[in-house]
Symmetry: C2
C-alpha cells in the first residue's frame, strides 16, 4: 500500500530533493503513484527527478513489481494534483507548511478512517510505503512533538538538519507546543507538526495490526516515525521495517539504535548500484534519494523471491529508459 | 477496467435485480468493486444479492481473478456511496432518473476525461466492464436517442421490456428528443438518456482504441451499447465482446444479430452452472443476473488460460462461502 500526498513544508528552499524544482515537487506523489501502477506518468506532467537528475525511487519499486507481480493499492494521503492511478480515499487533504499553527486539520479524520480501512483489509500481509516531498521534516516535527529522539534522514546527499530543526522549532512555537507535549496523542502530533501521509500511514498501521494483518514498514525514517506514532497509540507488537543500505549507511542518522529503541526489526537490502554505471543508479551511490515509494520494501521482496539484484538493476534500466523515452535525459551530477 | 457507478433510474420499481431491495441497490457498485478488489466488502455494508438471493456476478469475476491473477483498475463512473476499492476519477457523478430532463450533466466531461485517460494507458490489452444497477434501461434510452435498434437484456428472469420502454419514452419527452435526434452525438445521447457509467465506458473505449490498446467489451447489452456509441463517435475497427451464455441465450434479445450489425465479434462462454447445484449458481441457471462486473470477460479469460470450468465453479463456491461467512445465507427461489 502506497500512501501518496503533499505538505507545503516541501516548498521551503533546500528541504527536499523530490522534484527538479519547487514548482514540480507538488506533482511528485501523483506521478510516483502512476509510475508504480502503470510504469509511466499518465496524467502527471513530469517524471520526478531530483534537481541533479536522480530519478524517483518509484522506478525501483516499479521494476520489482514487474519482476514479481506486486499488488499495489494507492491511498490518497492528501494529493494536491490529479493522479491517473486508482486511489482509496480516507479524507486526507494536502498539508500546509508545519510553520503554520494548524497545518494538517484532516489528520485526526484521516487517522481514524485509515485505521478503520486497515482493520477491514482481508490480506495476510501488507507493506506500507510513502511518497511525500518534505516528509522527513514533518517526521522530525512529529518526533519532537511526541518527545522522541529526533532521527531523520534526507533525500539530499547532505542532510539539511539545521534547516529542518529551525523549521520544526518555528512550527512548535506556532502550535504552542513544547517537545513531548503530544506524547500519547498521535493525532495531535500529526495535526500540528506532521503531514497527511504520515497520518494516513499511522492509521493504516494501527488498523492492520488490529486486524491481524502482518505489516512491514517499507521505507526509511518516515516509516520509523510511523512506528513511534503507533507506540504512542498503544501498539506493542514488534514491527518490521525494510529499508535500503542508503538509509542504513546514512551518517546523519543512527537507524539501528533508533529501531532498537522502538522494537523495530530492520531488514536492510543493498541493490549494489555501484556495480552498474547508469544514470538511474549513480546518484543513489552518490547519496541522493536513498529511499521512498517503498523502495527498500520492494528490494526486500525481490530478495525474498530469489531474484538476483543484477536482474533488479537490469529491470530498473528498462523502466528508466521507457520513462525517459522521448524526453530529454536528465544529466546527473555525480 | 471496471467502471462502477449509479443512476437513480434503478430506483424505479421492477427495473433492476441488482440489489436485495431498492434501498440497497445504491451500494451495489461500491460493494462489487470491493469484492473484485479484495474478495469481500470493505466499506460497503452489503453483499449484493438479487431480491431472490442471487449473488452478484462480482463473485465470478473475483473467482477468476484469484485463479489467473487479473490486474483490476476500478474507474469511478458516478458512485453514490463510498468504496474501499481504489478508484480512478474522471469527473463522473451519480446519474439521475432518465425521466428527468438532464439526468447526466457530467456525461460530456466524463466522456472526454475517460477518453484522455484511455488514450494514455500503456497496457497492450484491456477488458472493459460495468456495474450500474438500472444500466440496461439507460442503455435502451441511449440506443433510442441514437436511432439504433433497441436491444437490451435484463438482470431479471423476465425482462421488463414494456416498463423500460415506458420509462425511456417518458425520458425522451422530458428531453424533447425524438428517436435518432442524437445520432452521431454520443455525448448528447449519454447526457439526456444514459448513465455516467456508460459515458465513462464509451470514453475509455474510444481512448483505448485511439491509443492502440486492444480492447474487449466484457459484458452484455450495455457493453454492446458502448460499441454503438463508439460507432457514432467514428470508431470503425471491429470490436470484440465477451459475454455469457445467459445473455446470448436470452430470448428477449437477438444478441448475435445486433453484434453483426455493429461489427462486434462475439465470444460467448458457458460456465456450465447446471453441473453444480449451489446457491451461488442456481439462480443464474434460472435466468437471473446473467452478466455484469465483467463476468463474461472473466470467463473468457479463464477459458483462454486453459482453466477448466469445473475449477472456476469450485472457486466461485469458495468466494461465495467466504462472502457469506458470518452472514445469513440468502435463500434462492429457483
Amino acid at each position: 500500500m502506497l500512501v501518496a500526498g503533499t505538505t507545503r513544508t516541501a516548498e521551503i528552499d533546500g528541504i527536499s530533493a523530490a522534484g527538479a524544482d519547487s514548482d514540480l515537487l507538488v506533482h511528485t506523489p501523483s506521478a510516483d503513484a502512476e509510475i508504480v501502477t502503470y510504469g509511466e506518468p499518465i496524467r502527471a506532467p513530469v517524471v520526478p527527478v531530483s534537481p541533479s537528475g536522480c530519478p524517483t525511487p518509484a522506478v525501483v519499486t516499479r521494476a520489482v513489481k514487474e519482476l514479481i507481480g506486486l499488488d499495489v493499492t494507492v491511498v490518497d494521503g492528501g494529493l494536491a494534483e490529479p493522479t491517473g492511478a486508482p486511489t482509496v480515499t480516507v479524507g486526507a487533504r494536502p498539508g500546509d507548511d508545519v510553520r503554520e499553527q494548524d497545518p494538517v486539520s484532516t489528520a485526526p479524520g484521516a487517522l481514524a478512517a485509515a485505521r478503520k480501512f486497515g482493520r477491514s483489509i482481508p490480506d495476510d500481509e501488507v507493506y506500507l510505503a510513502e511518497t511525500v516531498p518534505g516528509g522527513t521534516t514533518t517526521a522530525l516535527g512529529v518526533l519532537r512533538a511526541l518527545g522522541e529522539e529526533p532521527v531523520v534522514s534526507s533525500s539530499l546527499p547532505q542532510n539539511p538538519l539545521a534547516l529542518k530543526q529551525e523549521v520544526v522549532e518555528e512550527g512548535l512555537q506556532a502550535s504552542s507546543l513544547d517537545p513531548g507535549d503530544a506524547a500519547d496523542e498521535p493525532a495531535v502530533a500529526l495535526r500540528r507538526m506532521g503531514d497527511p501521509v504520515l497520518a494516513t500511514i499511522t492509521g493504516l498501521l494501527v488498523g492492520l495490526v488490529e486486524g491481524d494483518t502482518a505489516v512491514t514498514l517499507a521505507g526509511g525514517t518516515q516509516l520509523l516515525t510511523a512506528a513511534a506514532l503507533a507506540r504512542h497509540a498503544g501498539i506493542e507488537t514488534t514491527l518490521p521495517l525494510a529499508t535500503t543500505t542508503f538509509v542504513a549507511d546514512d551518517d546523519s542518522v543512527d537507524l539501528r539504535a533508533a529501531a532498537r529503541e522502538l522494537n523495530v526489526d530492520l531488514t536492510v537490502t543493498d541493490p549494489v548500484f555501484e556495480n552498474r554505471d547508469h544514470p538511474a543508479m549513480n546518484a543513489y551511490v552518490a547519496g541522493e534519494a536513498k529511499e521512498g515509494v517503498g523502495m527498500g520494501g520492494a528490494l526486500a521482496l525481490a530478495d525474498a523471491a530469489g531474484i538476483p539484484m543484477a536482474d533488479v538493476r537490469e529491470r530498473i534500466v528498462t523502466v528508466y529508459d521507457r520513462l525517459l523515452d522521448g524526453r530529454e535525459s536528465p544529466e546527473p551530477e555525480t
